[in-house]
């Protein structure tokens, strides 16, 4: 498999495990471990026991120097003053002219002079470019994409797996601790994309393979499974978490995606403030809603959504089969007057399939448990 795709530090491990690999944001990443698992088994492991995901394709960037946090707070959407050093925050990088979403990312506040960012793989270079262009004198923006790996340990047994490796587990949801692994620093964050209690570990690139091996060995007694990005997608869809490029994009604003909770509306400045405030005032024309199958059908991104009369009222942005509910679920941008409880009709390859508009999550959230 020769290509221009970037590879994770665990590439050889994935191949050895018989993973089905695919291009994900320019990276050759495991979709599922079809020889031993598969999406359904991997999904169940995370809901019932524990799974470990290689998400080293995620971006990493540092913003450092005097006034670094203040600078980040003046451009990214969420209010960084809501958190303390040692905490992480979900935030958005919006386009200043349109308010469309360039990327959604997690910001880790180390201190007033040091913010670490985890953007999406495909958007990292663009986020870094925009930050660099705007950074004031003395603030340095560094793209550190291949300095660190990222492993997500997710599921009700995740704390026990980390404890077996003597890693910290008791910090609050959306906070992080810096530990040590093989004499090198390891950031342990109480974050994730699955809706379960879980951690995202950020080891140095060259320690990622050893950490993966240690997690799988320590997790064996807890039923740990390597999980691919296929299960990550079914898990996050069950939570209604948006995926950039589908449910958030340059064409889908935080107002439309109902991600206004991740915007610091009272801040004097952030990229996209004016257009987003204007849209918020006027009311977004379309809103992101959950949809759940009435008929036996699975929604897929870009399917047309119609009303009973057959008039188009929206479009599916994400859809999958929910392994937990055993039915089709998805997210769709719908004209704002179609609200929870309404029935809408998807054009599923020429046939109309009924769906109910619902409020995600589709299954219980257990991140804080």
């Amino acid at each position: 498999m020769t290509s221009d795709l970037l590879t994770s530090p665990l590439h050889a491990r994935h191949i050895a495990l018989g993973a089905k690999m695919s291009d994900f944001g320019g990276w050759d990443m495991p979709i599922e471990y079809s020889k031993t698992g598969g999406v359904l088994k991997e999904h169940a492991a995370v809901r019932e026991q524990v799974g470990v995901f290689d998400v080293s394709h995620l971006g990493k960037a540092s913003v450092t120097g005097p006034g670094a946090a203040a600078f980040v707070n003046s451009v990214l959407a969420n209010d960084l003053q809501r958190i303390e050093p040692g905490q992480a925050q979900y935030t958005l990088c919006c386009d200043d002219a349109t308010g469309g979403v360039v990327d959604d990312l997690i910001a880790y506040l180390n201190g007033p002079e040091d913010v670490f960012l985890i953007p999406n793989a495909a958007n990292t270079a663009e986020v870094v470019r925009r930050l660099e262009a705007a950074a004031p004198e003395g603030v340095t923006v560094r793209n550190r994409h291949r300095e660190f790996g990222v492993l997500a340990v997710q599921g009700p047994k995740s704390a026990e797996v980390l404890a077996a490796l003597r890693l910290p587990t008791d910090h609050d949801y959306m906070s992080f601790a810096v530990a040590s692994f093989q004499d090198s620093p390891l950031t342990v964050c109480r974050t994730g994309y699955t809706g379960e209690h879980g951690y995202e570990l950020v080891p140095r690139w060259d320690k990622t393979e050893a950490l993966w091996d240690a997690l799988l060995a320590a997790g064996e007694q807890f039923g740990i499974r390597p999980c691919g990005l296929g299960a990550r997608d079914t898990l996050r869809t069950e939570m209604g978490y948006p995926l950039h490029g589908q449910d958030l994009s340059l064409d889908i604003t935080p107002n439309m995606a109902r991600a206004g909770w991740a915007v610091g509306w009272k801040k004097p400045a952030f990229w996209g403030r004016e257009p987003l405030l204007a849209e918020r005032e006027a009311g977004a024309k379309r809103l992101l809603r959950g949809i759940k199958a009435v008929d036996r059908a699975i929604p897929r991104a870009h399917m047309v959504v119609n009303d009973e009369a057959g008039k188009q009222i929206g479009e599916v942005t994400s859809g999958t089969f929910s392994p937990s509910l055993r039915e089709g679920i998805g997210l769709a941008l719908l004209d704002r007057d179609h609200t929870e409880g309404d029935t809408v009709y998807l054009d599923v390859r020429g046939k109309a399939a009924a769906f109910t508009v619902v409020k995600p999550p589709f299954v219980d959230v257990r991140t804080r448990g």
């Binding site: 598969g38 999406v39 359904l40 699975i298 897929r300 999958t320 089969f321 055993r326 390859r349």
Partner: protein
């Protein structure tokens, strides 16, 4: 895993000829592995006329949907109703309990014209 006694299409269906006028149809082990966990099977209807090479059903996995192609022209005589409740049989036993439908070919010689195991295997390696 490509059983010797079966016939195949380049679209990854297998055909098993037996004593009756109908032949049994399913998808190959290679196909089920490529699709991943199958969660819905849209079966053709019993009595439906199907045409070789044309879609006659759908296989849906968590991440995508694929057409099921008719390997032969003929009439559907039975479908595997178990797949409604247990679509995973296509993954776990593609040549056995995961069979999909039976078809009575209009022209029995069409069966002989399908790929043999060696010919199908060659399409995978080619």
């Amino acid at each position: 895993m490509t059983p010797e006694e079966l016939k195949y299409t380049a679209e990854h269906e297998w055909v098993r000829a037996g004593d009756s006028d109908s032949v049994r149809v399913g998808i190959t082990d290679y196909a089920q592995e490529q699709l991943g966990d199958i969660v819905f099977v849209q079966l053709p209807e019993v009595g439906a006329k199907i045409t070789a090479g044309e879609p006659c059903g759908e296989l849906e996995s968590t991440k995508s949907v694929s057409d099921l192609y008719a390997p032969l022209t003929g009439t559907v005589t039975a479908v595997n109703g178990e797949l409604d409740a247990s679509p995973e049989l296509v993954n776990s036993d593609p040549y056995g309990e995961g069979w999909i439908f039976d078809v009575e070919p209009d022209d029995a010689s069409e069966v002989e014209a399908l790929l043999d195991a060696k010919g199908y295997q060659a399409t995978l390696e080619g």
